[in-house]
């Protein structure tokens, strides 16, 4: 029922990773979740979820009438979450058609998570205009914060119920040494509501190459907090502890 777009403006800040992990956690918590790859043309959600070999149909097939929306959904390898992939053929999809598919999925699922493309062009508009809520992902770097600020300003022109911020790849050791902005400082600069703090985690990088999530990853707890905040509309963020094994 809830349609949430995960966006950032800047590429490479972790939108797809956060979409995948948030979707998996919500699904593991018992919610019915579908992840929609809004990054058409440069689609990677299927790879992040480890289902690239299971894709039979994608969103362009749905819109062309070659299959029904539910036939195009692929099952996640770890949870009961479903994924609606896109392909290079999907690049010309209109915002209205995309919204139609998202709305039809929202009737059945508790959460529709839309992985937004980088940039603020047509793909951004297509993904954002299909959603009711937005999660902006940034890292504590100057360039990512600048792009997040532009995206937040753009989002204010859409009729969204809620816009929240996730700060990804924080390093507690650098923050403690005063060499990196904390997530709260980043949110303060952006005047945004912080909903999640995801620590920099090598296990995400390593396991995502296999399309999997590491059960023992230090970021697991952070994703659990993010998932709880999204599901329950709370804003309790937990600052990740310093990693003693890597200085």
């Amino acid at each position: 029922m809830r349609k949430i777009v995960i966006t950032s403006g800047k590429g490479g800040v972790g939108k797809t990773t956060i979409t995948a992990n948030l979707g998996r956690k919500l699904s593991a918590d018992g919610y019915k979740v579908v992840l929609v790859d809004g990054d058409v043309g440069l689609n990677n959600l299927d790879v992040a979820m480890g289902i690239e070999n299971r894709v039979v149909y994608d969103i362009s097939d749905v819109l062309a009438g070659r299959c029904r929306p539910f036939q195009a959904l692929a099952l996640d390898v770890e949870t009961s979450a479903r994924i609606l992939p896109s392909s290079a053929n999907s690049a010309d999809i209109s915002a209205q058609a995309f919204r139609g598919v998202v709305d039809s999925l929202a009737e059945t699922f508790d959460f529709v998570l839309i992985d937004c493309p980088a940039g603020i062009e047509h793909g951004f508009h297509r993904a954002v205009s299909s959603a009711d809520e937005a999660i902006v992902v940034t890292t504590p770097s100057a360039s990512a914060i600048r792009d997040a600020d532009k995206v937040l300003r753009l989002l204010s022109t859409y009729p969204l119920k809620d816009v929240a911020l996730v700060v990804n790849r924080t390093r507690a050791d650098l923050i403690a040494r005063g060499e990196m902005l904390s997530a709260k400082e980043t949110a303060n600069i952006l005047h945004a509501t912080l909903i999640g703090i995801i620590p920099d985690d090598d296990y995400i990088t390593v396991f995502q190459q296999l399309g999997k999530t590491a059960d023992f990853a230090p970021s697991k707890r952070a994703f659990a907090t993010l998932s709880r905040n999204v599901a329950e509309n709370t804003r309790d963020v937990e600052v990740p502890r310093r990693r003693w094994w890597r200085r």
């Binding site: 100057a142 600020d149 400082e185 303060n188 005047h191």
Partner: protein, 82 residues
């Protein structure tokens, strides 16, 4: 100033410039106008520093700082001579 405070100040300046659409031309013109105005009132020594920044609460601050050797005296109204 700590490293992250420098970064924070830099980002805030950057975002302010983005929001205001502040170009180099804008700042040059604004600084020239402010300098012209301030020099009417003060005998300014050195450069007049003009800075626009964003506060914690999202409001914009305009900071003009300069050193002056003296305050110019002038009369704002004509004295009638009878």
């Amino acid at each position: 100033m700590r490293f992250k405070d420098k970064v924070s100040a830099r980002i805030r300046d950057m975002l302010t410039n983005d929001k205001l659409g502040l170009s180099d031309g804008f700042m040059t013109a604004f600084q020239a106008d402010v300098t012209h105005l301030v020099k009417d009132y003060f005998d300014v020594s050195g450069q007049i520093d003009v800075k626009i920044f964003e506060n914690e609460d999202g409001k914009y601050g305009i900071k003009i700082s300069a050193l002056a050797d003296k305050i110019n005296t002038f009369e704002t109204t004509f004295k009638k001579k009878f």
